[in-house]
């Protein structure tokens, strides 16, 4: 089937690669507008403090400063990602809730003046007791962070399916383990930037955002503007990973300052400010209980989690549900209980980060499953095969799965990693571990309640058919959505992809699309593009049938040529037909839109976790431990993915490598650390250690043959599913190498050393 495609399945070069390798691609930080000012936000030095007084007079007097604003100068409305949790102000009004919280902003003629002006703003604070741990925050007498949330409980989830107690009672073996997941941060290479300018009553914002539409909606709401008076444009974006996925203080401040000054204002964060803004992966305490029968088949799981949500909710409300919702996807079982408290603390907010909520819980489950396998003497791959999800099944929490090649993924991973030759046979200090992965291919429900379609696409062919433009609101944050959607447009139209220009991620000049999150664009934006392309082709073939004097049904179009299917020597160029159509109709265009069907159950929180399709994967990690120092040397990683039909193999594998890379980083090297006053100790790229090229091995990525009926041409996601299993695979490899279960992330060298020394002492005692 794949060989029939003209451009689907081909590793065409990324559309923007040339611009990027020549330095021509303009990112928001590169953009300059006439008369532009620069702006930055003043941030709180305290974790929890009342604001008594803000004196901006000296800052305002500094030569070159054009405006200094505080909460008095912006709408006092609270904002947030979900209407249910609007808990954040543009600038704090009565108190600050974390080190780095937003207090004021300055616009000035150059960057240096902005920095100087920030230093001149005088704020009188009254420090309040602060709390940095979710359990302490829930306890009696803890400082209250938000008035409306007693005990600092931000989100509470209690979901129950089947009967776990009964399942545990009849289980052959039950294990309860507690795992600690840590705070990590997306740390894209590109810092956040937001540029705003007004033309009359319309504001345009060039933002480093993954979601142009949602930002547009949030800005319109905040400033009481009609949607049509807010235009959001995404320039080239230097990575998001879930960290550029919600409206930020920078965006609101840019809009306010540009209105006030009458000039474009470019707001930006430095690297350390990115860390204090954060909205990265939650720290979470995960108590997991799993009961299995004597064959290791899971009978029930109880996930009892506490999440450190930080000071604001943002996307975190969805994370709270995702943390449990996706646990039942890889493996089949009939009893599931999910209890979760997401708690406010006086630390930067946590929210969505690649794999959104599913990553730490997956590590917990995969580690526990590994221990269960050891307890029962079952092979690691075997226990996963016995529990694997099968196609066309429904999870215990009512998530419908169509295609699922998990079995093939596991068996293929076994082969390409030489698992059978290695497991149990590696020299001392070396280990191999496995975990399954996978993720949603787009969230089944929008972030705010709306009946708008999730993706819309428009294709317009030019007057002589020598080029076409694809309009899509999808946002290319580096994953290559523009390229993949261009391939899809070309395939659907029968047009040469080289002749298609993509206009994307501009709420005014492209189309509606919810943007890049929950790995939705290949499937959802793709459907809209496919329909748009098919409409163009249909109109074209209708015209061609008249011109070529045949029935439309006998015609096909490929590579910008129309031909008779069983006599391809009878052919006409696309352009000739298109021109004729253009002359007769004034425009040749096609449109398409996509809304997912109603998905999921009716219980509270059921919407989160739903998706038209799920990717699946198996990931194997082999590593070597220096037993004296605890140093971890990752020798190999093999990822086998079921992404359905692969639209662009090179891009899919690139995403897989990147997902593994982030997974390894978070598993071993990365952690956001705080001091006793809630200040980040390592808000820089020297001490927040992302792996360098010397730290990670070559990675093997393979995609299995698959077809997802709910996906365009059978396609599903890969971008997040590849980072979901890595922490678990690394933990299991360390377990295999050392016999030690690592129950606290990250698996730093010192932690491994400590665990090994503890094990030796225990062995000595015996």
């Amino acid at each position: 089937m794949k060989d029939d495609y003209a451009v689907i399945g081909r590793s065409v070069p990324k559309l923007d690669a040339r611009l990027k390798v020549t330095g021509q691609a303009l990112y928001a930080g590169d953009m300059k507008f006439p008369n532009m000012l620069f702006g930055k936000i003043l941030r709180s030095p305290h974790a929890h403090a009342r604001i008594l007084k803000i004196d901006t007079s000296e800052a305002e007097r500094l030569h070159g400063v054009k405006a200094v604003i505080t909460h008095k100068d912006v709408p006092p409305k609270k904002y947030g990602v979900s209407p249910a949790r609007r808990d954040e102000n543009i600038f704090c009004i009565d108190k600050v809730r974390h080190v780095g919280d937003k207090v004021a902003a300055v616009a000035a003629i150059d960057e240096e003046t902005v920095y100087r002006a920030l230093k001149l703003i005088k704020v009188d604070y009254e420090e309040l007791p602060a709390v940095f741990d979710p359990i302490e925050a829930m306890a009696e007498g803890a400082p209250l962070i938000h008035d409306d949330f007693p005990h600092n409980i931000n989100v509470e989830v209690h979901q129950s399916f089947g009967n776990v107690k009964e399942a545990f009672d009849r289980a052959f073996h039950v294990r309860t383990d507690t795992f600690l997941g840590h705070r990590t941060y997306h740390s894209p290479l590109e810092p956040h930037v937001s540029i705003a300018f007004w033309e009359g009553d319309k504001v345009t914002v060039y933002a480093t955002t993954q979601k142009a539409h949602y930002l547009q909606v949030d800005l319109a709401r905040q400033f009481d503007l009609p949607l049509g008076k807010v235009r959001v444009v995404c320039p080239f974006i230097g990575g998001g990973f879930g960290g550029k996925a919600a409206a930020m203080g920078l965006d609101f401040a840019a809009v306010a300052l540009s209105r006030l000054t009458g000039r474009p204002v470019k707001m930006f964060y430095d690297r350390d400010e990115m860390f204090t803004h954060n909205r990265g992966r939650h720290r979470q305490i995960m108590e997991l209980t799993t009961g299995v029968d004597r064959d290791g088949k899971i009978l029930g799981i109880h996930a009892n989690f506490i999440m450190d949500g930080g000071a604001y909710t943002g996307n975190g409300i969805a994370t709270a549900y995702y943390s449990g919702a996706l646990l039942p996807v890889s493996y089949e079982f009939d009893n599931f209980k999910y209890d979760m408290f997401r708690v406010y603390t006086n630390l930067p907010g946590s929210a969505s980060q690649r794999g959104h909520g599913a990553v730490h819980p997956k590590y917990a489950l995969e580690s526990q499953l590994e221990m269960i396998a050891r307890d029962l003497g079952i092979d690691s791959l075997e226990i996963r095969l016995r529990n694997r999800r099968k196609p066309n099944t429904v999870t215990v929490n009512e998530l419908g799965v169509n295609s699922c090649e998990l079995e093939t993924c596991i068996e293929t991973a076994r082969k390409i990693s030489n698992w059978n030759e290695k497991k149990g046979k590696l020299p001392r200090g070396r280990g191999i571990g496995v975990a399954s992965g996978g993720f949603v291919s787009g969230a089944g429900y929008p972030i705010y309640r709306t009946n708008l379609p999730h993706s819309v696409a428009l294709i317009r062919v030019n007057e002589d058919g020598s080029a076409a433009t694809l309009y899509t609101g999808a946002v290319d944050i580096g994953q290559g959505s523009n390229t993949v959607l261009c391939q899809m447009a070309a395939e659907a139209m029968g047009f040469r992809h080289e002749d298609i220009t993509v206009v994307s991620a501009d709420t005014e000049r492209s189309t509606l699309d919810f943007g890049a999150y929950s790995s939705r664009q290949t499937l959802m934006s793709g459907w809209a593009v496919k329909k748009a392309g098919e409409m163009v082709k249909e109109k074209l073939l209708e015209m061609a049938s008249k011109m070529m004097n045949v029935e439309p049904e006998v015609l096909e179009c490929k590579g910008s040529e129309v031909f008779v299917k069983n006599n391809p020597t009878i052919r006409e160029p696309f352009g000739k037909i298109a021109r004729e159509y253009f002359v007769k109709n004034g425009i040749l265009m096609g449109q398409g839109s996509y809304t997912p069907p109603k998905l999921g159950g009716d219980y509270k929180g059921a919407a989160v976790g739903t998706s038209p399709a799920y990717s699946f994967s198996a990931q194997i990690v082999e590593l070597k431990i220096d037993e004296e120092t605890g140093e971890i040397d990752v020798k190999g990683v093999w990822d086998v993915h079921d992404s359905g039909t692969v639209i662009n193999p090179a891009l899919v594998h690139g995403q897989s490598h990147g997902g593994i890379y982030m997974g390894l980083g978070e598993a071993i090297w990365e952690e956001v650390k705080f001091d006793e006053n809630g200040r980040i100790l390592n808000p820089n790229l020297a001490e927040y250690r992302m792996p360098t090229a010397l730290d990670v091995p070559m990675m093997d990525s393979l995609a299995v043959e698959g077809f997802e009926p709910a996906g365009p041409w059978g396609a599903k996601e890969v971008g997040e599913g590849a980072s979901v299993p890595t922490e678990g695979a690394v933990a299991n490899a360390i377990l295999d190498a050392t016999g030690v279960l690592m129950d606290t992330l990250p698996f730093s060298y010192e932690k491994v050393w400590h665990a090994l020394r503890k094990k030796e002492k225990a062995a000595d005692k015996e």
Binding site: D270, N682, L685, A686, E687, P691, T692, Y749, W753
Partner: protein, 289 residues
């Protein structure tokens, strides 16, 4: 980020440079590669009122053998100059090896030997191996020039005996008998990582018997420290696994590590034991383990 304002001088001679430093009342800093200095200034740490650039002063970056003195490394030699020096590779291979594990390639093209020494950062990688090789440093002031053993240069974290009107101009490695030397560091990733622990060793061995040993520990005390007891354990004895282990334990007792975001004191102490053994193995050209 931005740099605060500062006076900027480009003296043409060392004498001129020292004059400016002398007149600046301790408020001026020497600028060579700037990789440490600019970082501090951007982070608002110890911001000087003036920078005295060494840009125009010729001849401070040579690596050459000077008869009667030894192997002389100019203070402006960069870490990549060290890494690529065939002279060093031939005589003291541990030095280019050490340079190669510092920071990253871009920093190594700017950062200088002088800067790494003068910064007096306890985790600096060059001081331990230089001290193990008996190095001395020359400092030029407005009135006098002095040369002292590098071992006596460091006073505490970011503090040295260098006066505020002096400039460190060269490092001298005297002719010496050495069977081998090595520096090994524990970093938390393989590039761009400060030493959690660093151990340098230089030995003179005869047919498996150690005649002479210098062991220097970095990142585990306010300054680089000699592991004297470990050295004494080795001298006069034949190399065995047990001897190296004993030396490692002794070295571990001689350091004063702190706990910080890179590691606990307990971990560091044990790593001194491990890395002392390993550095000695490497210096003795024995397989590690």
């Amino acid at each position: 980020m931005y740099l605060p304002d500062f006076e900027y001088y480009i003296p043409k001679t060392l004498g001129e440079a020292c004059e400016i430093l002398a007149q600046s009342d301790g408020e001026a800093r020497v600028l060579a590669g700037g990789t440490d200095l600019l970082r501090d200034m951007k982070n608002d740490v110890g911001v000087p009122k003036a920078l005295v650039s060494l840009k125009a002063i010729q001849g401070l970056d040579q690596i050459a053998y000077v008869a009667g003195k030894g192997l002389v490394v100019g203070a402006k030699a960069t870490h990549n100059d060290l890494a690529g020096s065939s002279l060093l590779k031939e005589h003291y291979a541990a030095i280019p090896e050490t340079a190669r594990v510092m920071a990253n390639n871009q920093i190594r093209n700017r950062g200088t030997v002088g800067g790494n020494i003068v910064s007096s950062v306890p985790s600096a990688d060059l001081p331990p191996i230089f001290i193990a090789l008996n190095a001395s440093v020359t400092m030029i002031g407005p009135h006098e020039t002095r040369t002292i053993p590098l071992e006596q240069f460091f006073v505490g974290p970011r503090r040295s005996v260098l006066n505020c009107d002096e400039i460190l101009t060269e490092l001298i490695i005297p002719d010496q008998k050495t069977t081998g030397s090595a520096y090994l560091k524990l970093g938390l990733r393989r590039s761009g990582a400060l030493a959690v622990v660093g151990v340098a060793a230089s030995v003179v061995a005869n047919g498996g018997r150690i005649d002479h040993a210098r062991i220097v520990l970095g990142a585990v005390a306010p300054t680089p420290v000699r592991a004297f007891k470990a050295e004494q354990i080795l001298v006069g004895n034949s190399v065995t696994g047990a001897l190296l282990e004993e030396a490692g334990r002794a070295a571990a007792d001689e350091c004063k590590p702190i706990s910080d975001i890179r590691g606990s004191a307990e971990y560091r102490r044990d790593m001194v034991r491990v890395f002392t053994k390993r550095a000695l193995c490497k210096a003795l050209q024995l397989p590690i383990k």
